[in-house]
Amino acid sequence: MSSASPVRVMSGNEVCAEAAMAAGLRFFAGYPITPSSEIAEELAVRLPRAGGVFMQMEDEIAAMGAVVGASLAGVKSMTATSGPGFSLKQENIGFACMAEVPCVVVNVQRGGPSTGLPTMPAQGDVMQARWGTHGDHPIIALTPYSVAETFELTVRAFNLAEAFRTPVILLMDEIIGHVNEKVRLPDSVEVVERKGPDTTPDQYLPYRHTEDGVPPMAAFGRAGYRFHVTGLAHDETGFPTNDPVEIDRLNRRLNGKLERHRDAIVDVVRHACDDAEVAVFAYGSVSRAARQAVDEARAKGIPVGLLRSRTLWPFPDVEVRELGEKVGTILVPEMNLGQMAHEVEWAVRGACHVVPFGRVDGLPIRPGQILELIEQAVSRAGAGVRA
């Protein structure tokens, strides 16, 4: 970051809009919903000045449809919502997965289920981000833990979407969306553009089974690449097929394309993990509290570490397994009733204890609560406090 950039006080939602612009966003369609509306409000001011388009649509479904349409026409596109809206968008998110349309879907999570707690934080949509739309499908979900990190991960969301022709979910939560923090934004960011066609129009296959699993993508327009896009199972030409061989091939490439690039996508931050006997797995705003709890425990001489996951999907199973083999216990505090704890348990496959800790009363998990969990785990395990 350049020292020339001024320090600013911004909320996560404001920074998300700022980062989206820096990443090349030129089309936003949304629908008002707490606690994400500030993203739309900010972009309503920014986009028309920057040669982009902002639209408030008639509903959440329309917003998601418009985003996919604009991206197919070659423009970087995004929408932002919260739980109820995220539910409504799922069908068209599935279309974007199937038709391989890059786009970013921001979900500033609030308490659920249903209308739930519009102004209070939660992390109840982490499984919906993975499995909200029907059928096997690939998805990427990122979880920032601070305002500054929201900038970084918003840019990354666009870059991953473009690189892998896939929707990317940016899973914020009400705390990250609304908290105001000091940030120093970078002067420039690295921006990835989608891979364009490498053939003449008559040779172009919009869903070619390429070596890296990502087909080059033309844009609707006048360049002559007239291609067909459908949510139906299709072959390399993009047209519907009922051929079981082609259908199987499509589904396996679709789901395999993120798997094979998993190492480039998965992003974890390890804090004090080297000699840890107890570890915390956390993400989003909870990982912020967890970091403080770990530092406080370390000050007391407790050997505890933190694995902070900045990508929830694909899940960092290898990294979690590795950690599970080193420590006796992994604590999983989260603002839901153990959604990711299940995933952690599956990843460690019995290598260590996994202790879920869920809070679903609309209040954030405090560092003190996590510290208490750490101390309980240590005393249960009889792990000694180092002198």
Binding site: M55, M57, E58, H228
Partner: protein, 276 residues
């Protein structure tokens, strides 16, 4: 004489539609209109939802997008705003556009965005096997209204007009040469335009309602079609089964993409005109 083959993906033939379906007549009318305007294949984007009508784009050699049920207009809105230079045509049906997609239909019309909607109205859900639609006439049978529909049906053209469309027309497939003229005018119109095309579904609607074969159903459409001017002279009772055809709305009003461009220009203009 239109050389249809230049606009068609002939390798995708035969068409998915049943024998006697009117959808092929609409497809040809669209191609005649496009040809007469002289549109290049690369400058058209044809978008559809789900249903029989929505299979049309697969056969047309332009930029084509077959979306989710009812949502064609939302995707089309994104395409149009990202590439205002493209001619965007939405192909949809009565169920797709006015049931599951009803909200998008009225709002696209209200916005008056420059999209042309060709709505194939066959009074029923054909592809899924003949379920009742918002266009099914009251009393008519459908697989999910086995004792006759007890719901009033939409006047789809009036719905679009009420919502703010700048061009609204209705025609039947019994008059294909009038149909392509209306589609041509709709595409040329700057703003949201709708051509509601009455087309027979002998396979589901015809069978369930003893409405006869394709020929009989097409003759029915021809016999019940009346011009707007003539409809005004009819009594309410006479108008009951009439299909009012022709141009129903033709207004000049601000179009959304142009309004947006104007706003963007104003924001880039010197401070006196700018908000900030």
């Amino acid at each position: 004489m239109t050389e249809y083959s230049k606009y068609l993906r002939l390798d995708k033939f035969p068409l998915i539609w049943c024998p006697g379906c009117g959808d092929g007549i609409v497809l040809k009318a669209i191609l005649r209109a496009v040809d007469r305007i002289g549109l290049d294949r690369n400058e058209i984007c044809m978008v559809s939802g789900i249903g029989c009508s929505s299979r049309t784009p697969g056969y047309v050699d332009v930029n084509t997008l077959h979306t989710t049920h009812g949502r064609a207009l939302t995707f089309a809105t994104g395409v149009k705003m990202a590439r205002p230079d493209l001619t965007v045509i939405v192909v949809t049906g009565d169920g797709d556009a006015t049931a599951i997609g009803g909200n998008h239909f009225i709002h696209a019309a209200r916005r008056n965005i420059d999209i042309t909607v060709i709505l194939y109205n066959n009074w029923i859900y054909g592809m899924t096997g003949g379920q009742v639609s918002p266009a099914t006439p009251m009393g008519a049978r459908a697989s999910t209204a086995p004792f006759g529909s007890i719901e009033p049906n939409f006047d789809i053209a009036a719905l679009a007009a009420g919502a703010g469309a700048s061009f609204v027309a209705r025609e039947t497939v019994a008059k294909p040469l009038l149909l392509d003229r209306l589609i041509e005018r709709a595409i040329r119109k700057k703003g949201f335009s709708l051509v509601e095309v009455m087309t027979p579904c002998p396979t589901t609607y015809g069978r369930l309602n003893n409405a006869g074969d394709a020929v009989e159903m097409t003759l029915y459409l021809r016999e019940h079609a009346v011009s707007k001017a003539k409809a005004e002279t009819l009594s309410e009772e006479q108008r009951q089964d009439a299909i009012v055809t022709g141009v129903l709305v033709d207004l000049d009003k601000p179009e959304y993409a142009e309004q947006y461009a104007r706003l963007a220009e104003r924001l880039r203009a010197p401070a006196a005109f700018s908000r900030a």
